[in-house]
């Protein structure tokens, strides 16, 4: 069996035209993480540029209101560019620079990873092209403009369902043609080996910080860590440090859309079957003939028919639990966090908040629950207004 396995999941199911590029990447990454200079430089950019370490905030009003576990928020929304995505992007771009690549490409769903990549590319003076499903470019116009402002070219993808999965297809196709001078900055813990490992390692700073901060303030580890799961990068980053600590319960909240009993959801771990797509063996939502299903979620960032292979493995072994949260529950949590704590979360992160709102009240007052608040919600204000039936006029 090949390298890059998480149990039976993972692997490198990529076309021959990409194998050399993936091997080059694996080798370069292997040497970079063993190089103290690289590790130090990355830490420096994370701290000086991206605003790390991010705060671990005790949500007192929310805790009192829910009447169960003490709730902490890991404030990834306070990072530069407003989400956890920058952690991985800075790591991959430093790696790209080390490999002598001058151009970068990326896929994006909601636009968070695209914005982060465009940001990093500007920082390092690299040419950047972002592939984004045409459907998503409409849902997230603001992020398209933001990427343009940062000097990146946004290429709308018009194939397939015109969403994140098609953006991934197109980025891989483009990379197959241009890998000699181009680095593919993959945004989640997915794809062919070594990407799921690279992204998880670069995001694991989230869990490491949670552990340190928790030990400092509470003198112990949390009882529960909750994070939202699309491809799974913020969740993998938050969970990874705690995997060897079985007493810490790990809960992933995936997009239940209009309900997992309807066709309108993206709950891969709840409803998916084993398959291969985007270079990895994992769980995917499929139709009767093995076609990848169109998925739905109010959140463009969770709107993916698969999930990172390590999550599939954690689900299979029972080390982590994955539960579906509906659009309605996520929107309620979005509003709840705004009025209760004065924090507007990304609609993706609101799925984790919603799950915490179900889990925390059943826990004891001395228990501790950490929510990974993966991003801020400014980008979602428009779609939430639409969901609750409020018209916001365009400003002239």
């Amino acid at each position: 069996m090949s390298r890059g396995r998480f149990g039976e999941f993972g692997g490198r199911y990529a076309p021959e035209t990409l194998i050399a590029a993936l091997e080059e990447l694996e080798k370069a990454y292997g040497s970079a993480i063993k190089d103290p200079g690289f590790v130090k430089e990355l830490a420096c950019y994370l701290n000086e540029y991206a605003n790390r370490p991010s705060l671990l905030y005790y949500a007192k009003r929310m805790t009192e209101d829910l009447g169960g576990a003490k709730i902490y928020l890991k404030r990834e929304d306070l990072n530069h560019t407003g989400a956890h995505k920058i952690n991985n992007v800075l790591g991959q771009l430093l790696l790209a620079r080390r490999m002598g690549k001058t151009k970068v490409i990326a896929e994006t769903g909601a636009g968070q990873h695209g914005v982060a990549t465009a940001t990093g590319a500007a920082l390092f003076g690299m040419a950047c092209e972002v592939f984004m499903g045409e459907e998503d470019t409409k849902r997230q116009e603001l992020n398209v403009f933001r990427m343009n402002l940062l000097g990146a070219k946004v290429t709308p993808v018009k194939s397939g369902t015109r969403t994140l999965k098609d953006a991934c297809n197109e980025a891989m196709r483009a990379w197959a043609a241009r890998a000699d001078d181009t680095f593919y900055v993959l945004g989640s813990t997915m794809g062919p080996h070594p990407y799921p490992t690279i992204v998880r390692d670069f995001q694991s700073v989230i869990g490491k910080e949670i552990k340190e901060q928790m030990l400092r303030t509470e003198g112990r580890l949390p009882d529960v860590v909750v994070a939202c799961v699309g491809g799974g990068s913020n969740a993998m980053g938050a969970f990874y440090e705690f995997i060897p600590h079985p007493e810490v319960r790990l809960i992933g909240a995936e997009a239940g859309g209009k309900g997992t009993d309807t066709p309108y959801h993206a709950a891969t771990l709840t409803k998916g079957e084993k398959g291969v797509l985007h270079g990895m063996k994992s769980l995917f939502l499929q139709d009767n003939d093995g076609g990848i299903m169109p998925v739905y979620s109010i959140s463009a960032g969770l709107d993916y028919p698969g999930v990172g292979p390590e999550h599939a493995h954690l689900a299979r072994t029972g080390r982590a639990e994955y539960l579906a949260v509906t659009d309605r529950e996520a929107v309620e949590a979005f509003q709840y966090l705004a009025v209760t704590e004065g924090i507007i979360p990304a609609i993706e992160s609101a799925h984790a908040v919603a799950q915490a709102m179900k889990t925390a009240p059943a826990m004891n007052r001395e228990d501790i629950l950490v929510i990974c608040l993966s991003g801020r919600g400014d980008k979602d204000v428009h779609s939430i207004a639409k969901y609750v039936g409020v018209e916001i006029g365009e400003q002239d």
Partner: protein, 266 residues
């Protein structure tokens, strides 16, 4: 039983001829047309036919074949129906048939059931672009048990050692990818074919066919000097797409196939 692919190359080499391998997407626009196209391509000089199995996410394909996939899916093509078509075709032709498909379709069908259906209907080989050498062990036992070849691919970027391993264990023929990127029509090639084929020939005598981007008889005429044949995909699929009636599609593909075959003769 001798695999039809081996038999074909044995014959072609004896006659000092190069193989013409043509590709169409099964079920584009419907399976009756596909079956007719296979027969017409054979009559017009195709030596082996590749049938693309439609999939929602064909990541190794360029726009022409992506659209053919969508048309075939919209037309209701499924693996079960494609196997039925192959079974019917086998009453009329012994041309080697190779499926080009993505691994997910095999996994979803069930690996053993899939190979059983291949052998039972008369499929001779499989090209699975997203199942590279390192992962191909998963199907090896079944390919041997059922006598269905998994056709290996090498790319210009495949490193020496890897190229050697792939070439030495190749069955049927070796699919030599002409250039980087995805399938689709190209006007020129950057690859040093002299060097590539010199290297490959030193590793093994297995038939080698060049594919990706070959779109005209002029190109196939030029490239015929390398290896044992050429694979033409997108340019055929485009003719299927452009024909307004079934008759037009058949005529256009037949004329193109004939021109390609003639271009391979010295």
């Amino acid at each position: 039983m001798v695999n039809r692919i081996d038999e074909k190359f044995r014959m072609l080499r004896k006659q000092k001829q190069k193989a013409l391998i043509t590709f169409i997407t099964a079920g584009d626009p419907d399976l009756l047309t596909t079956a007719e196209l296979v027969l017409r391509m054979e009559q017009s000089g195709a030596d082996i036919v590749e049938l693309g199995i439609p999939f929602s996410d064909p990541i190794a394909e360029g726009p022409v074949i992506q659209e053919a996939n969508l048309r075939a899916l919209a037309g209701g093509a499924t693996l079960v129906k494609i196997f039925d078509m192959v079974r019917t075709l086998r009453e009329k032709t012994q041309i080697p048939l190779v499926f080009l498909m993505y691994y997910n379709s095999i996994l979803h069908f069930g690996e053993e059931a899939f190979f059983k259906a291949c052998a039972g209907s008369g499929v001779d080989g499989l090209i699975v672009p997203d199942l590279p050498f390192e992962e191909s062990a998963e199907l090896k036992e079944l390919t041997e048990k059922y006598g269905v070849y998994q056709i290996s691919m090498v790319a210009p970027t495949s490193c020496g050692q890897r190229m050697e391993r792939i070439t030495k264990q190749a069955k049927g023929f070796l699919y030599c990818v002409s250039s980087l990127g995805v399938t689709g029509m190209r006007t020129d090639f950057q690859t040093d074919f002299d060097k590539m084929f010199h290297t490959l020939n030193a590793f093994s005598d297995v038939p080698k066919c060049l594919g990706f981007g070959i779109s005209s008889p002029e190109q196939s005429h030029q490239l015929r000097q390398y290896g044992d044949g050429v694979i033409v995909g997108s340019a055929v699929v485009q003719r299927v797409a452009q024909g307004r009636t079934e008759k037009e599609k058949l005529q256009s593909v037949a004329a193109f196939t004939k021109a390609l075959k003639e271009s391979l003769l010295d």
